[in-house]
């Protein structure tokens, strides 16, 4: 594998013209949510960028993130894998099988120690490591070993970033996020279930272009993609302001494309790029297709009180708790009332009549 050649050299060798390169830079800038005025800088950086080795480990996951990535359209997956990065290990996508897989992993780790980019999808079971093993090696051991030589770690998908669905209550496997285990490496969370493919490649492109991870939010997500609130960027927002809501999925409001807040949309507390980047080559996104946002790029989205319950409703049974309060209040209230009554009666019984003589006596003494 040619790790020492720059990307510019590699592209020229493949007969890609400068025009093609500029086009690539323009779409890359767009993908990284950078201003078009950054294109010349990106071109200069990419020209001299070295092709990094990428190792992808899959733990407790559903392969949805890989499915998403392979549908990434800019640049195409082929371009991404063969030209821009060197994907040295990926269970699902690699040709090798059996021991060859483990060999490829160890070779890549050894050859690029300290330099490779580690991509992880899926959560790690720490309750009992046996819940998920690869070639008899627990996910926990494999992650800690691979993380040692990594330049940086990208947690792909909500499972790797925050624990995701395996972490959902009651979390039978004791699933945790990558960042719960690895503390001494830069980690970036590309959350989503799955993440927007362009966001995955965008983060890789950013690492490739600038050699470091991009600016992150409080949850370790790249701000360029997760800095915006779905609700704020939603094209249905004006209906929210006007108080026009779909009440069911097939009423007049739903047909007119009104706000989906009442149908459980979690857009107001979800940070992701769906509203602008959209899905399937910018065709549409969940809210545009008539379904509220599930909040899949947020931690614990599975336990946010139900996908179809609106955000302002409690996650507990408030009637039940209120009934408990009522029963307790009634019991204590009756008791307190009885006590007060007794006190009052006692006071009345013990009341002594005071005469003017008593008062005079009191004044003299």
């Amino acid at each position: 594998m040619a790790y020492d050649k720059t990307l510019g050299e590699l592209l020229r060798e493949q007969g890609i013209t400068r025009r093609g390169f500029l086009k690539f830079c323009a779409t890359t800038a767009s993908m990284m949510a950078l201003s078009p005025s950054m294109v010349p800088k990106i071109a200069a950086a990419l020209e001299n960028a070295k092709r990094p080795s990428v190792i992808w480990l899959s733990f407790q996951e559903c392969t949805g993130c890989t499915e998403s990535l392979t549908r990434s359209h800019s640049p195409t997956i082929e371009k991404l894998i063969f030209d821009v990065i060197s994907l040295d290990h990926h269970h699902t996508l690699m040709a090798a099988s059996g021991y060859g897989v483990d060999e490829a992993l160890h070779d890549a780790m050894k050859e690029n120690y300290g330099k490779y980019l580690l991509l992880v999808d899926g959560s790690i079971p720490v309750g009992n490591p046996a819940y998920s093993t690869i070639s008899g090696v627990s996910n926990l051991d494999q992650l800690t070993e691979a993380a040692k030589g990594a330049a940086a770690i990208v947690s792909i998908g909500t499972c790797a970033a925050f624990g995701g669905i395996p972490h959902a209550n009651p979390n039978p496997t004791g699933a945790v996020a990558v960042s719960d285990i690895i503390k001494d490496k830069p980690i970036i969370n590309v959350s989503g279930c799955p993440p927007i493919p362009v966001v995955i490649t965008g983060v890789l492109a950013q690492f490739l272009t600038f050699g470091k991870l991009p600016e992150m939010d409080e949850l370790g997500r790249p701000k360029a993609f997760f800095g915006q609130n779905i609700h704020d960027r939603c094209y249905r927002r004006p209906f929210y302001e006007r108080g026009q809501f779909a009440e069911t999925f097939d009423d007049e409001g739903a047909k007119k494309g009104w706000c989906l807040f009442k149908l459980g949309c979690k857009g107001p507390v979800t940070y992701n790029a769906c509203a602008t980047m959209k899905w399937n080559e910018g065709t549409s996104w969940p809210v545009e297709s008539g379904h509220g946002c599930l909040g899949c790029s947020e931690p614990n989205f599975w336990d946010m009180g139900g996908f179809y319950n609106s955000l302002s409703t409690p996650t507990i049974d408030i009637a039940k708790t209120a009934a408990a309060g009522l029963a307790a209040g009634a019991a204590v209230g009756v008791a307190a009332g009885a006590l007060n009554r007794r006190k009052k009666n006692k006071a009345a019984r013990e009341h002594e009549t005071v005469t003017i003589n008593d008062l005079e006596k009191g004044a003299k003494s």
């Binding site: 020229r12 890609i16 013209t17 400068r18 025009r19 093609g20 500029l22 086009k23 690539f24 323009a26 779409t27 800038a29 767009s30 993908m31 949510a33 201003s35 078009p36 005025s37 294109v39 359209h73 800019s74 640049p75 195409t76 371009k79 960027r233 939603c234 094209y235 249905r236 927002r237 004006p238 047909k255 007119k256 494309g257 509203a275 602008t276 980047m277 080559e281 910018g282 549409s284 545009e288």
Partner: protein
């Protein structure tokens, strides 16, 4: 593109929802065009960074219309460069080998950079010319 628009509007009809972002973009274009004339400064607007409702982008494109120049570039997939009915306002659409749209930009410029011959490419052309000459003679 026009065909696409027609089917889209048939399919969506009343369902088209406008975010109201078209007017600010048109205003941005207006200022950029003024800047181009006054200071010879070019501007690029990335349409991906702007929220659009269903059918809204097509609406913007139809407002801009098609002008005198249409060019296609075959580099890592097709790209189309169209001068809109407004001179100096170009619509650049990049596609990959699978014809998927990679990016859509509005460029306010006399001449989109991507159309110009690139220095690096001219160098390699110069390197190739002696060979062609040798074959010819």
């Amino acid at each position: 593109m026009l065909e696409h628009m027609a089917t889209d509007s048939n399919a969506c009809g009343e369902g088209d929802i406008f975010t109201g972002n078209v007017a600010p973009i048109l205003n941005e274009i207006r200022h950029a065009l003024q800047r181009l004339l006054d200071e010879d400064q070019t501007t690029t607007i990335d349409l991906r960074g702007i929220p659009m409702g269903p059918g809204e982008e097509q609406h913007l494109e139809s407002l801009l219309g098609t002008g005198e120049v249409t060019a296609t570039i075959d580099a890592m997939g097709l790209s189309t460069v169209i001068e809109t009915s407004l001179a100096g306002v170009w619509l650049v659409v990049h596609r990959n080998d699978n014809d998927d749209i990679l990016g859509k930009f509005i460029e306010i410029t006399r001449n989109p950079t991507i159309l110009e011959s690139q220095t690096e490419d001219m160098h390699s052309a110069l390197e190739r010319l002696p060979g062609i000459l040798a074959d010819y003679s």
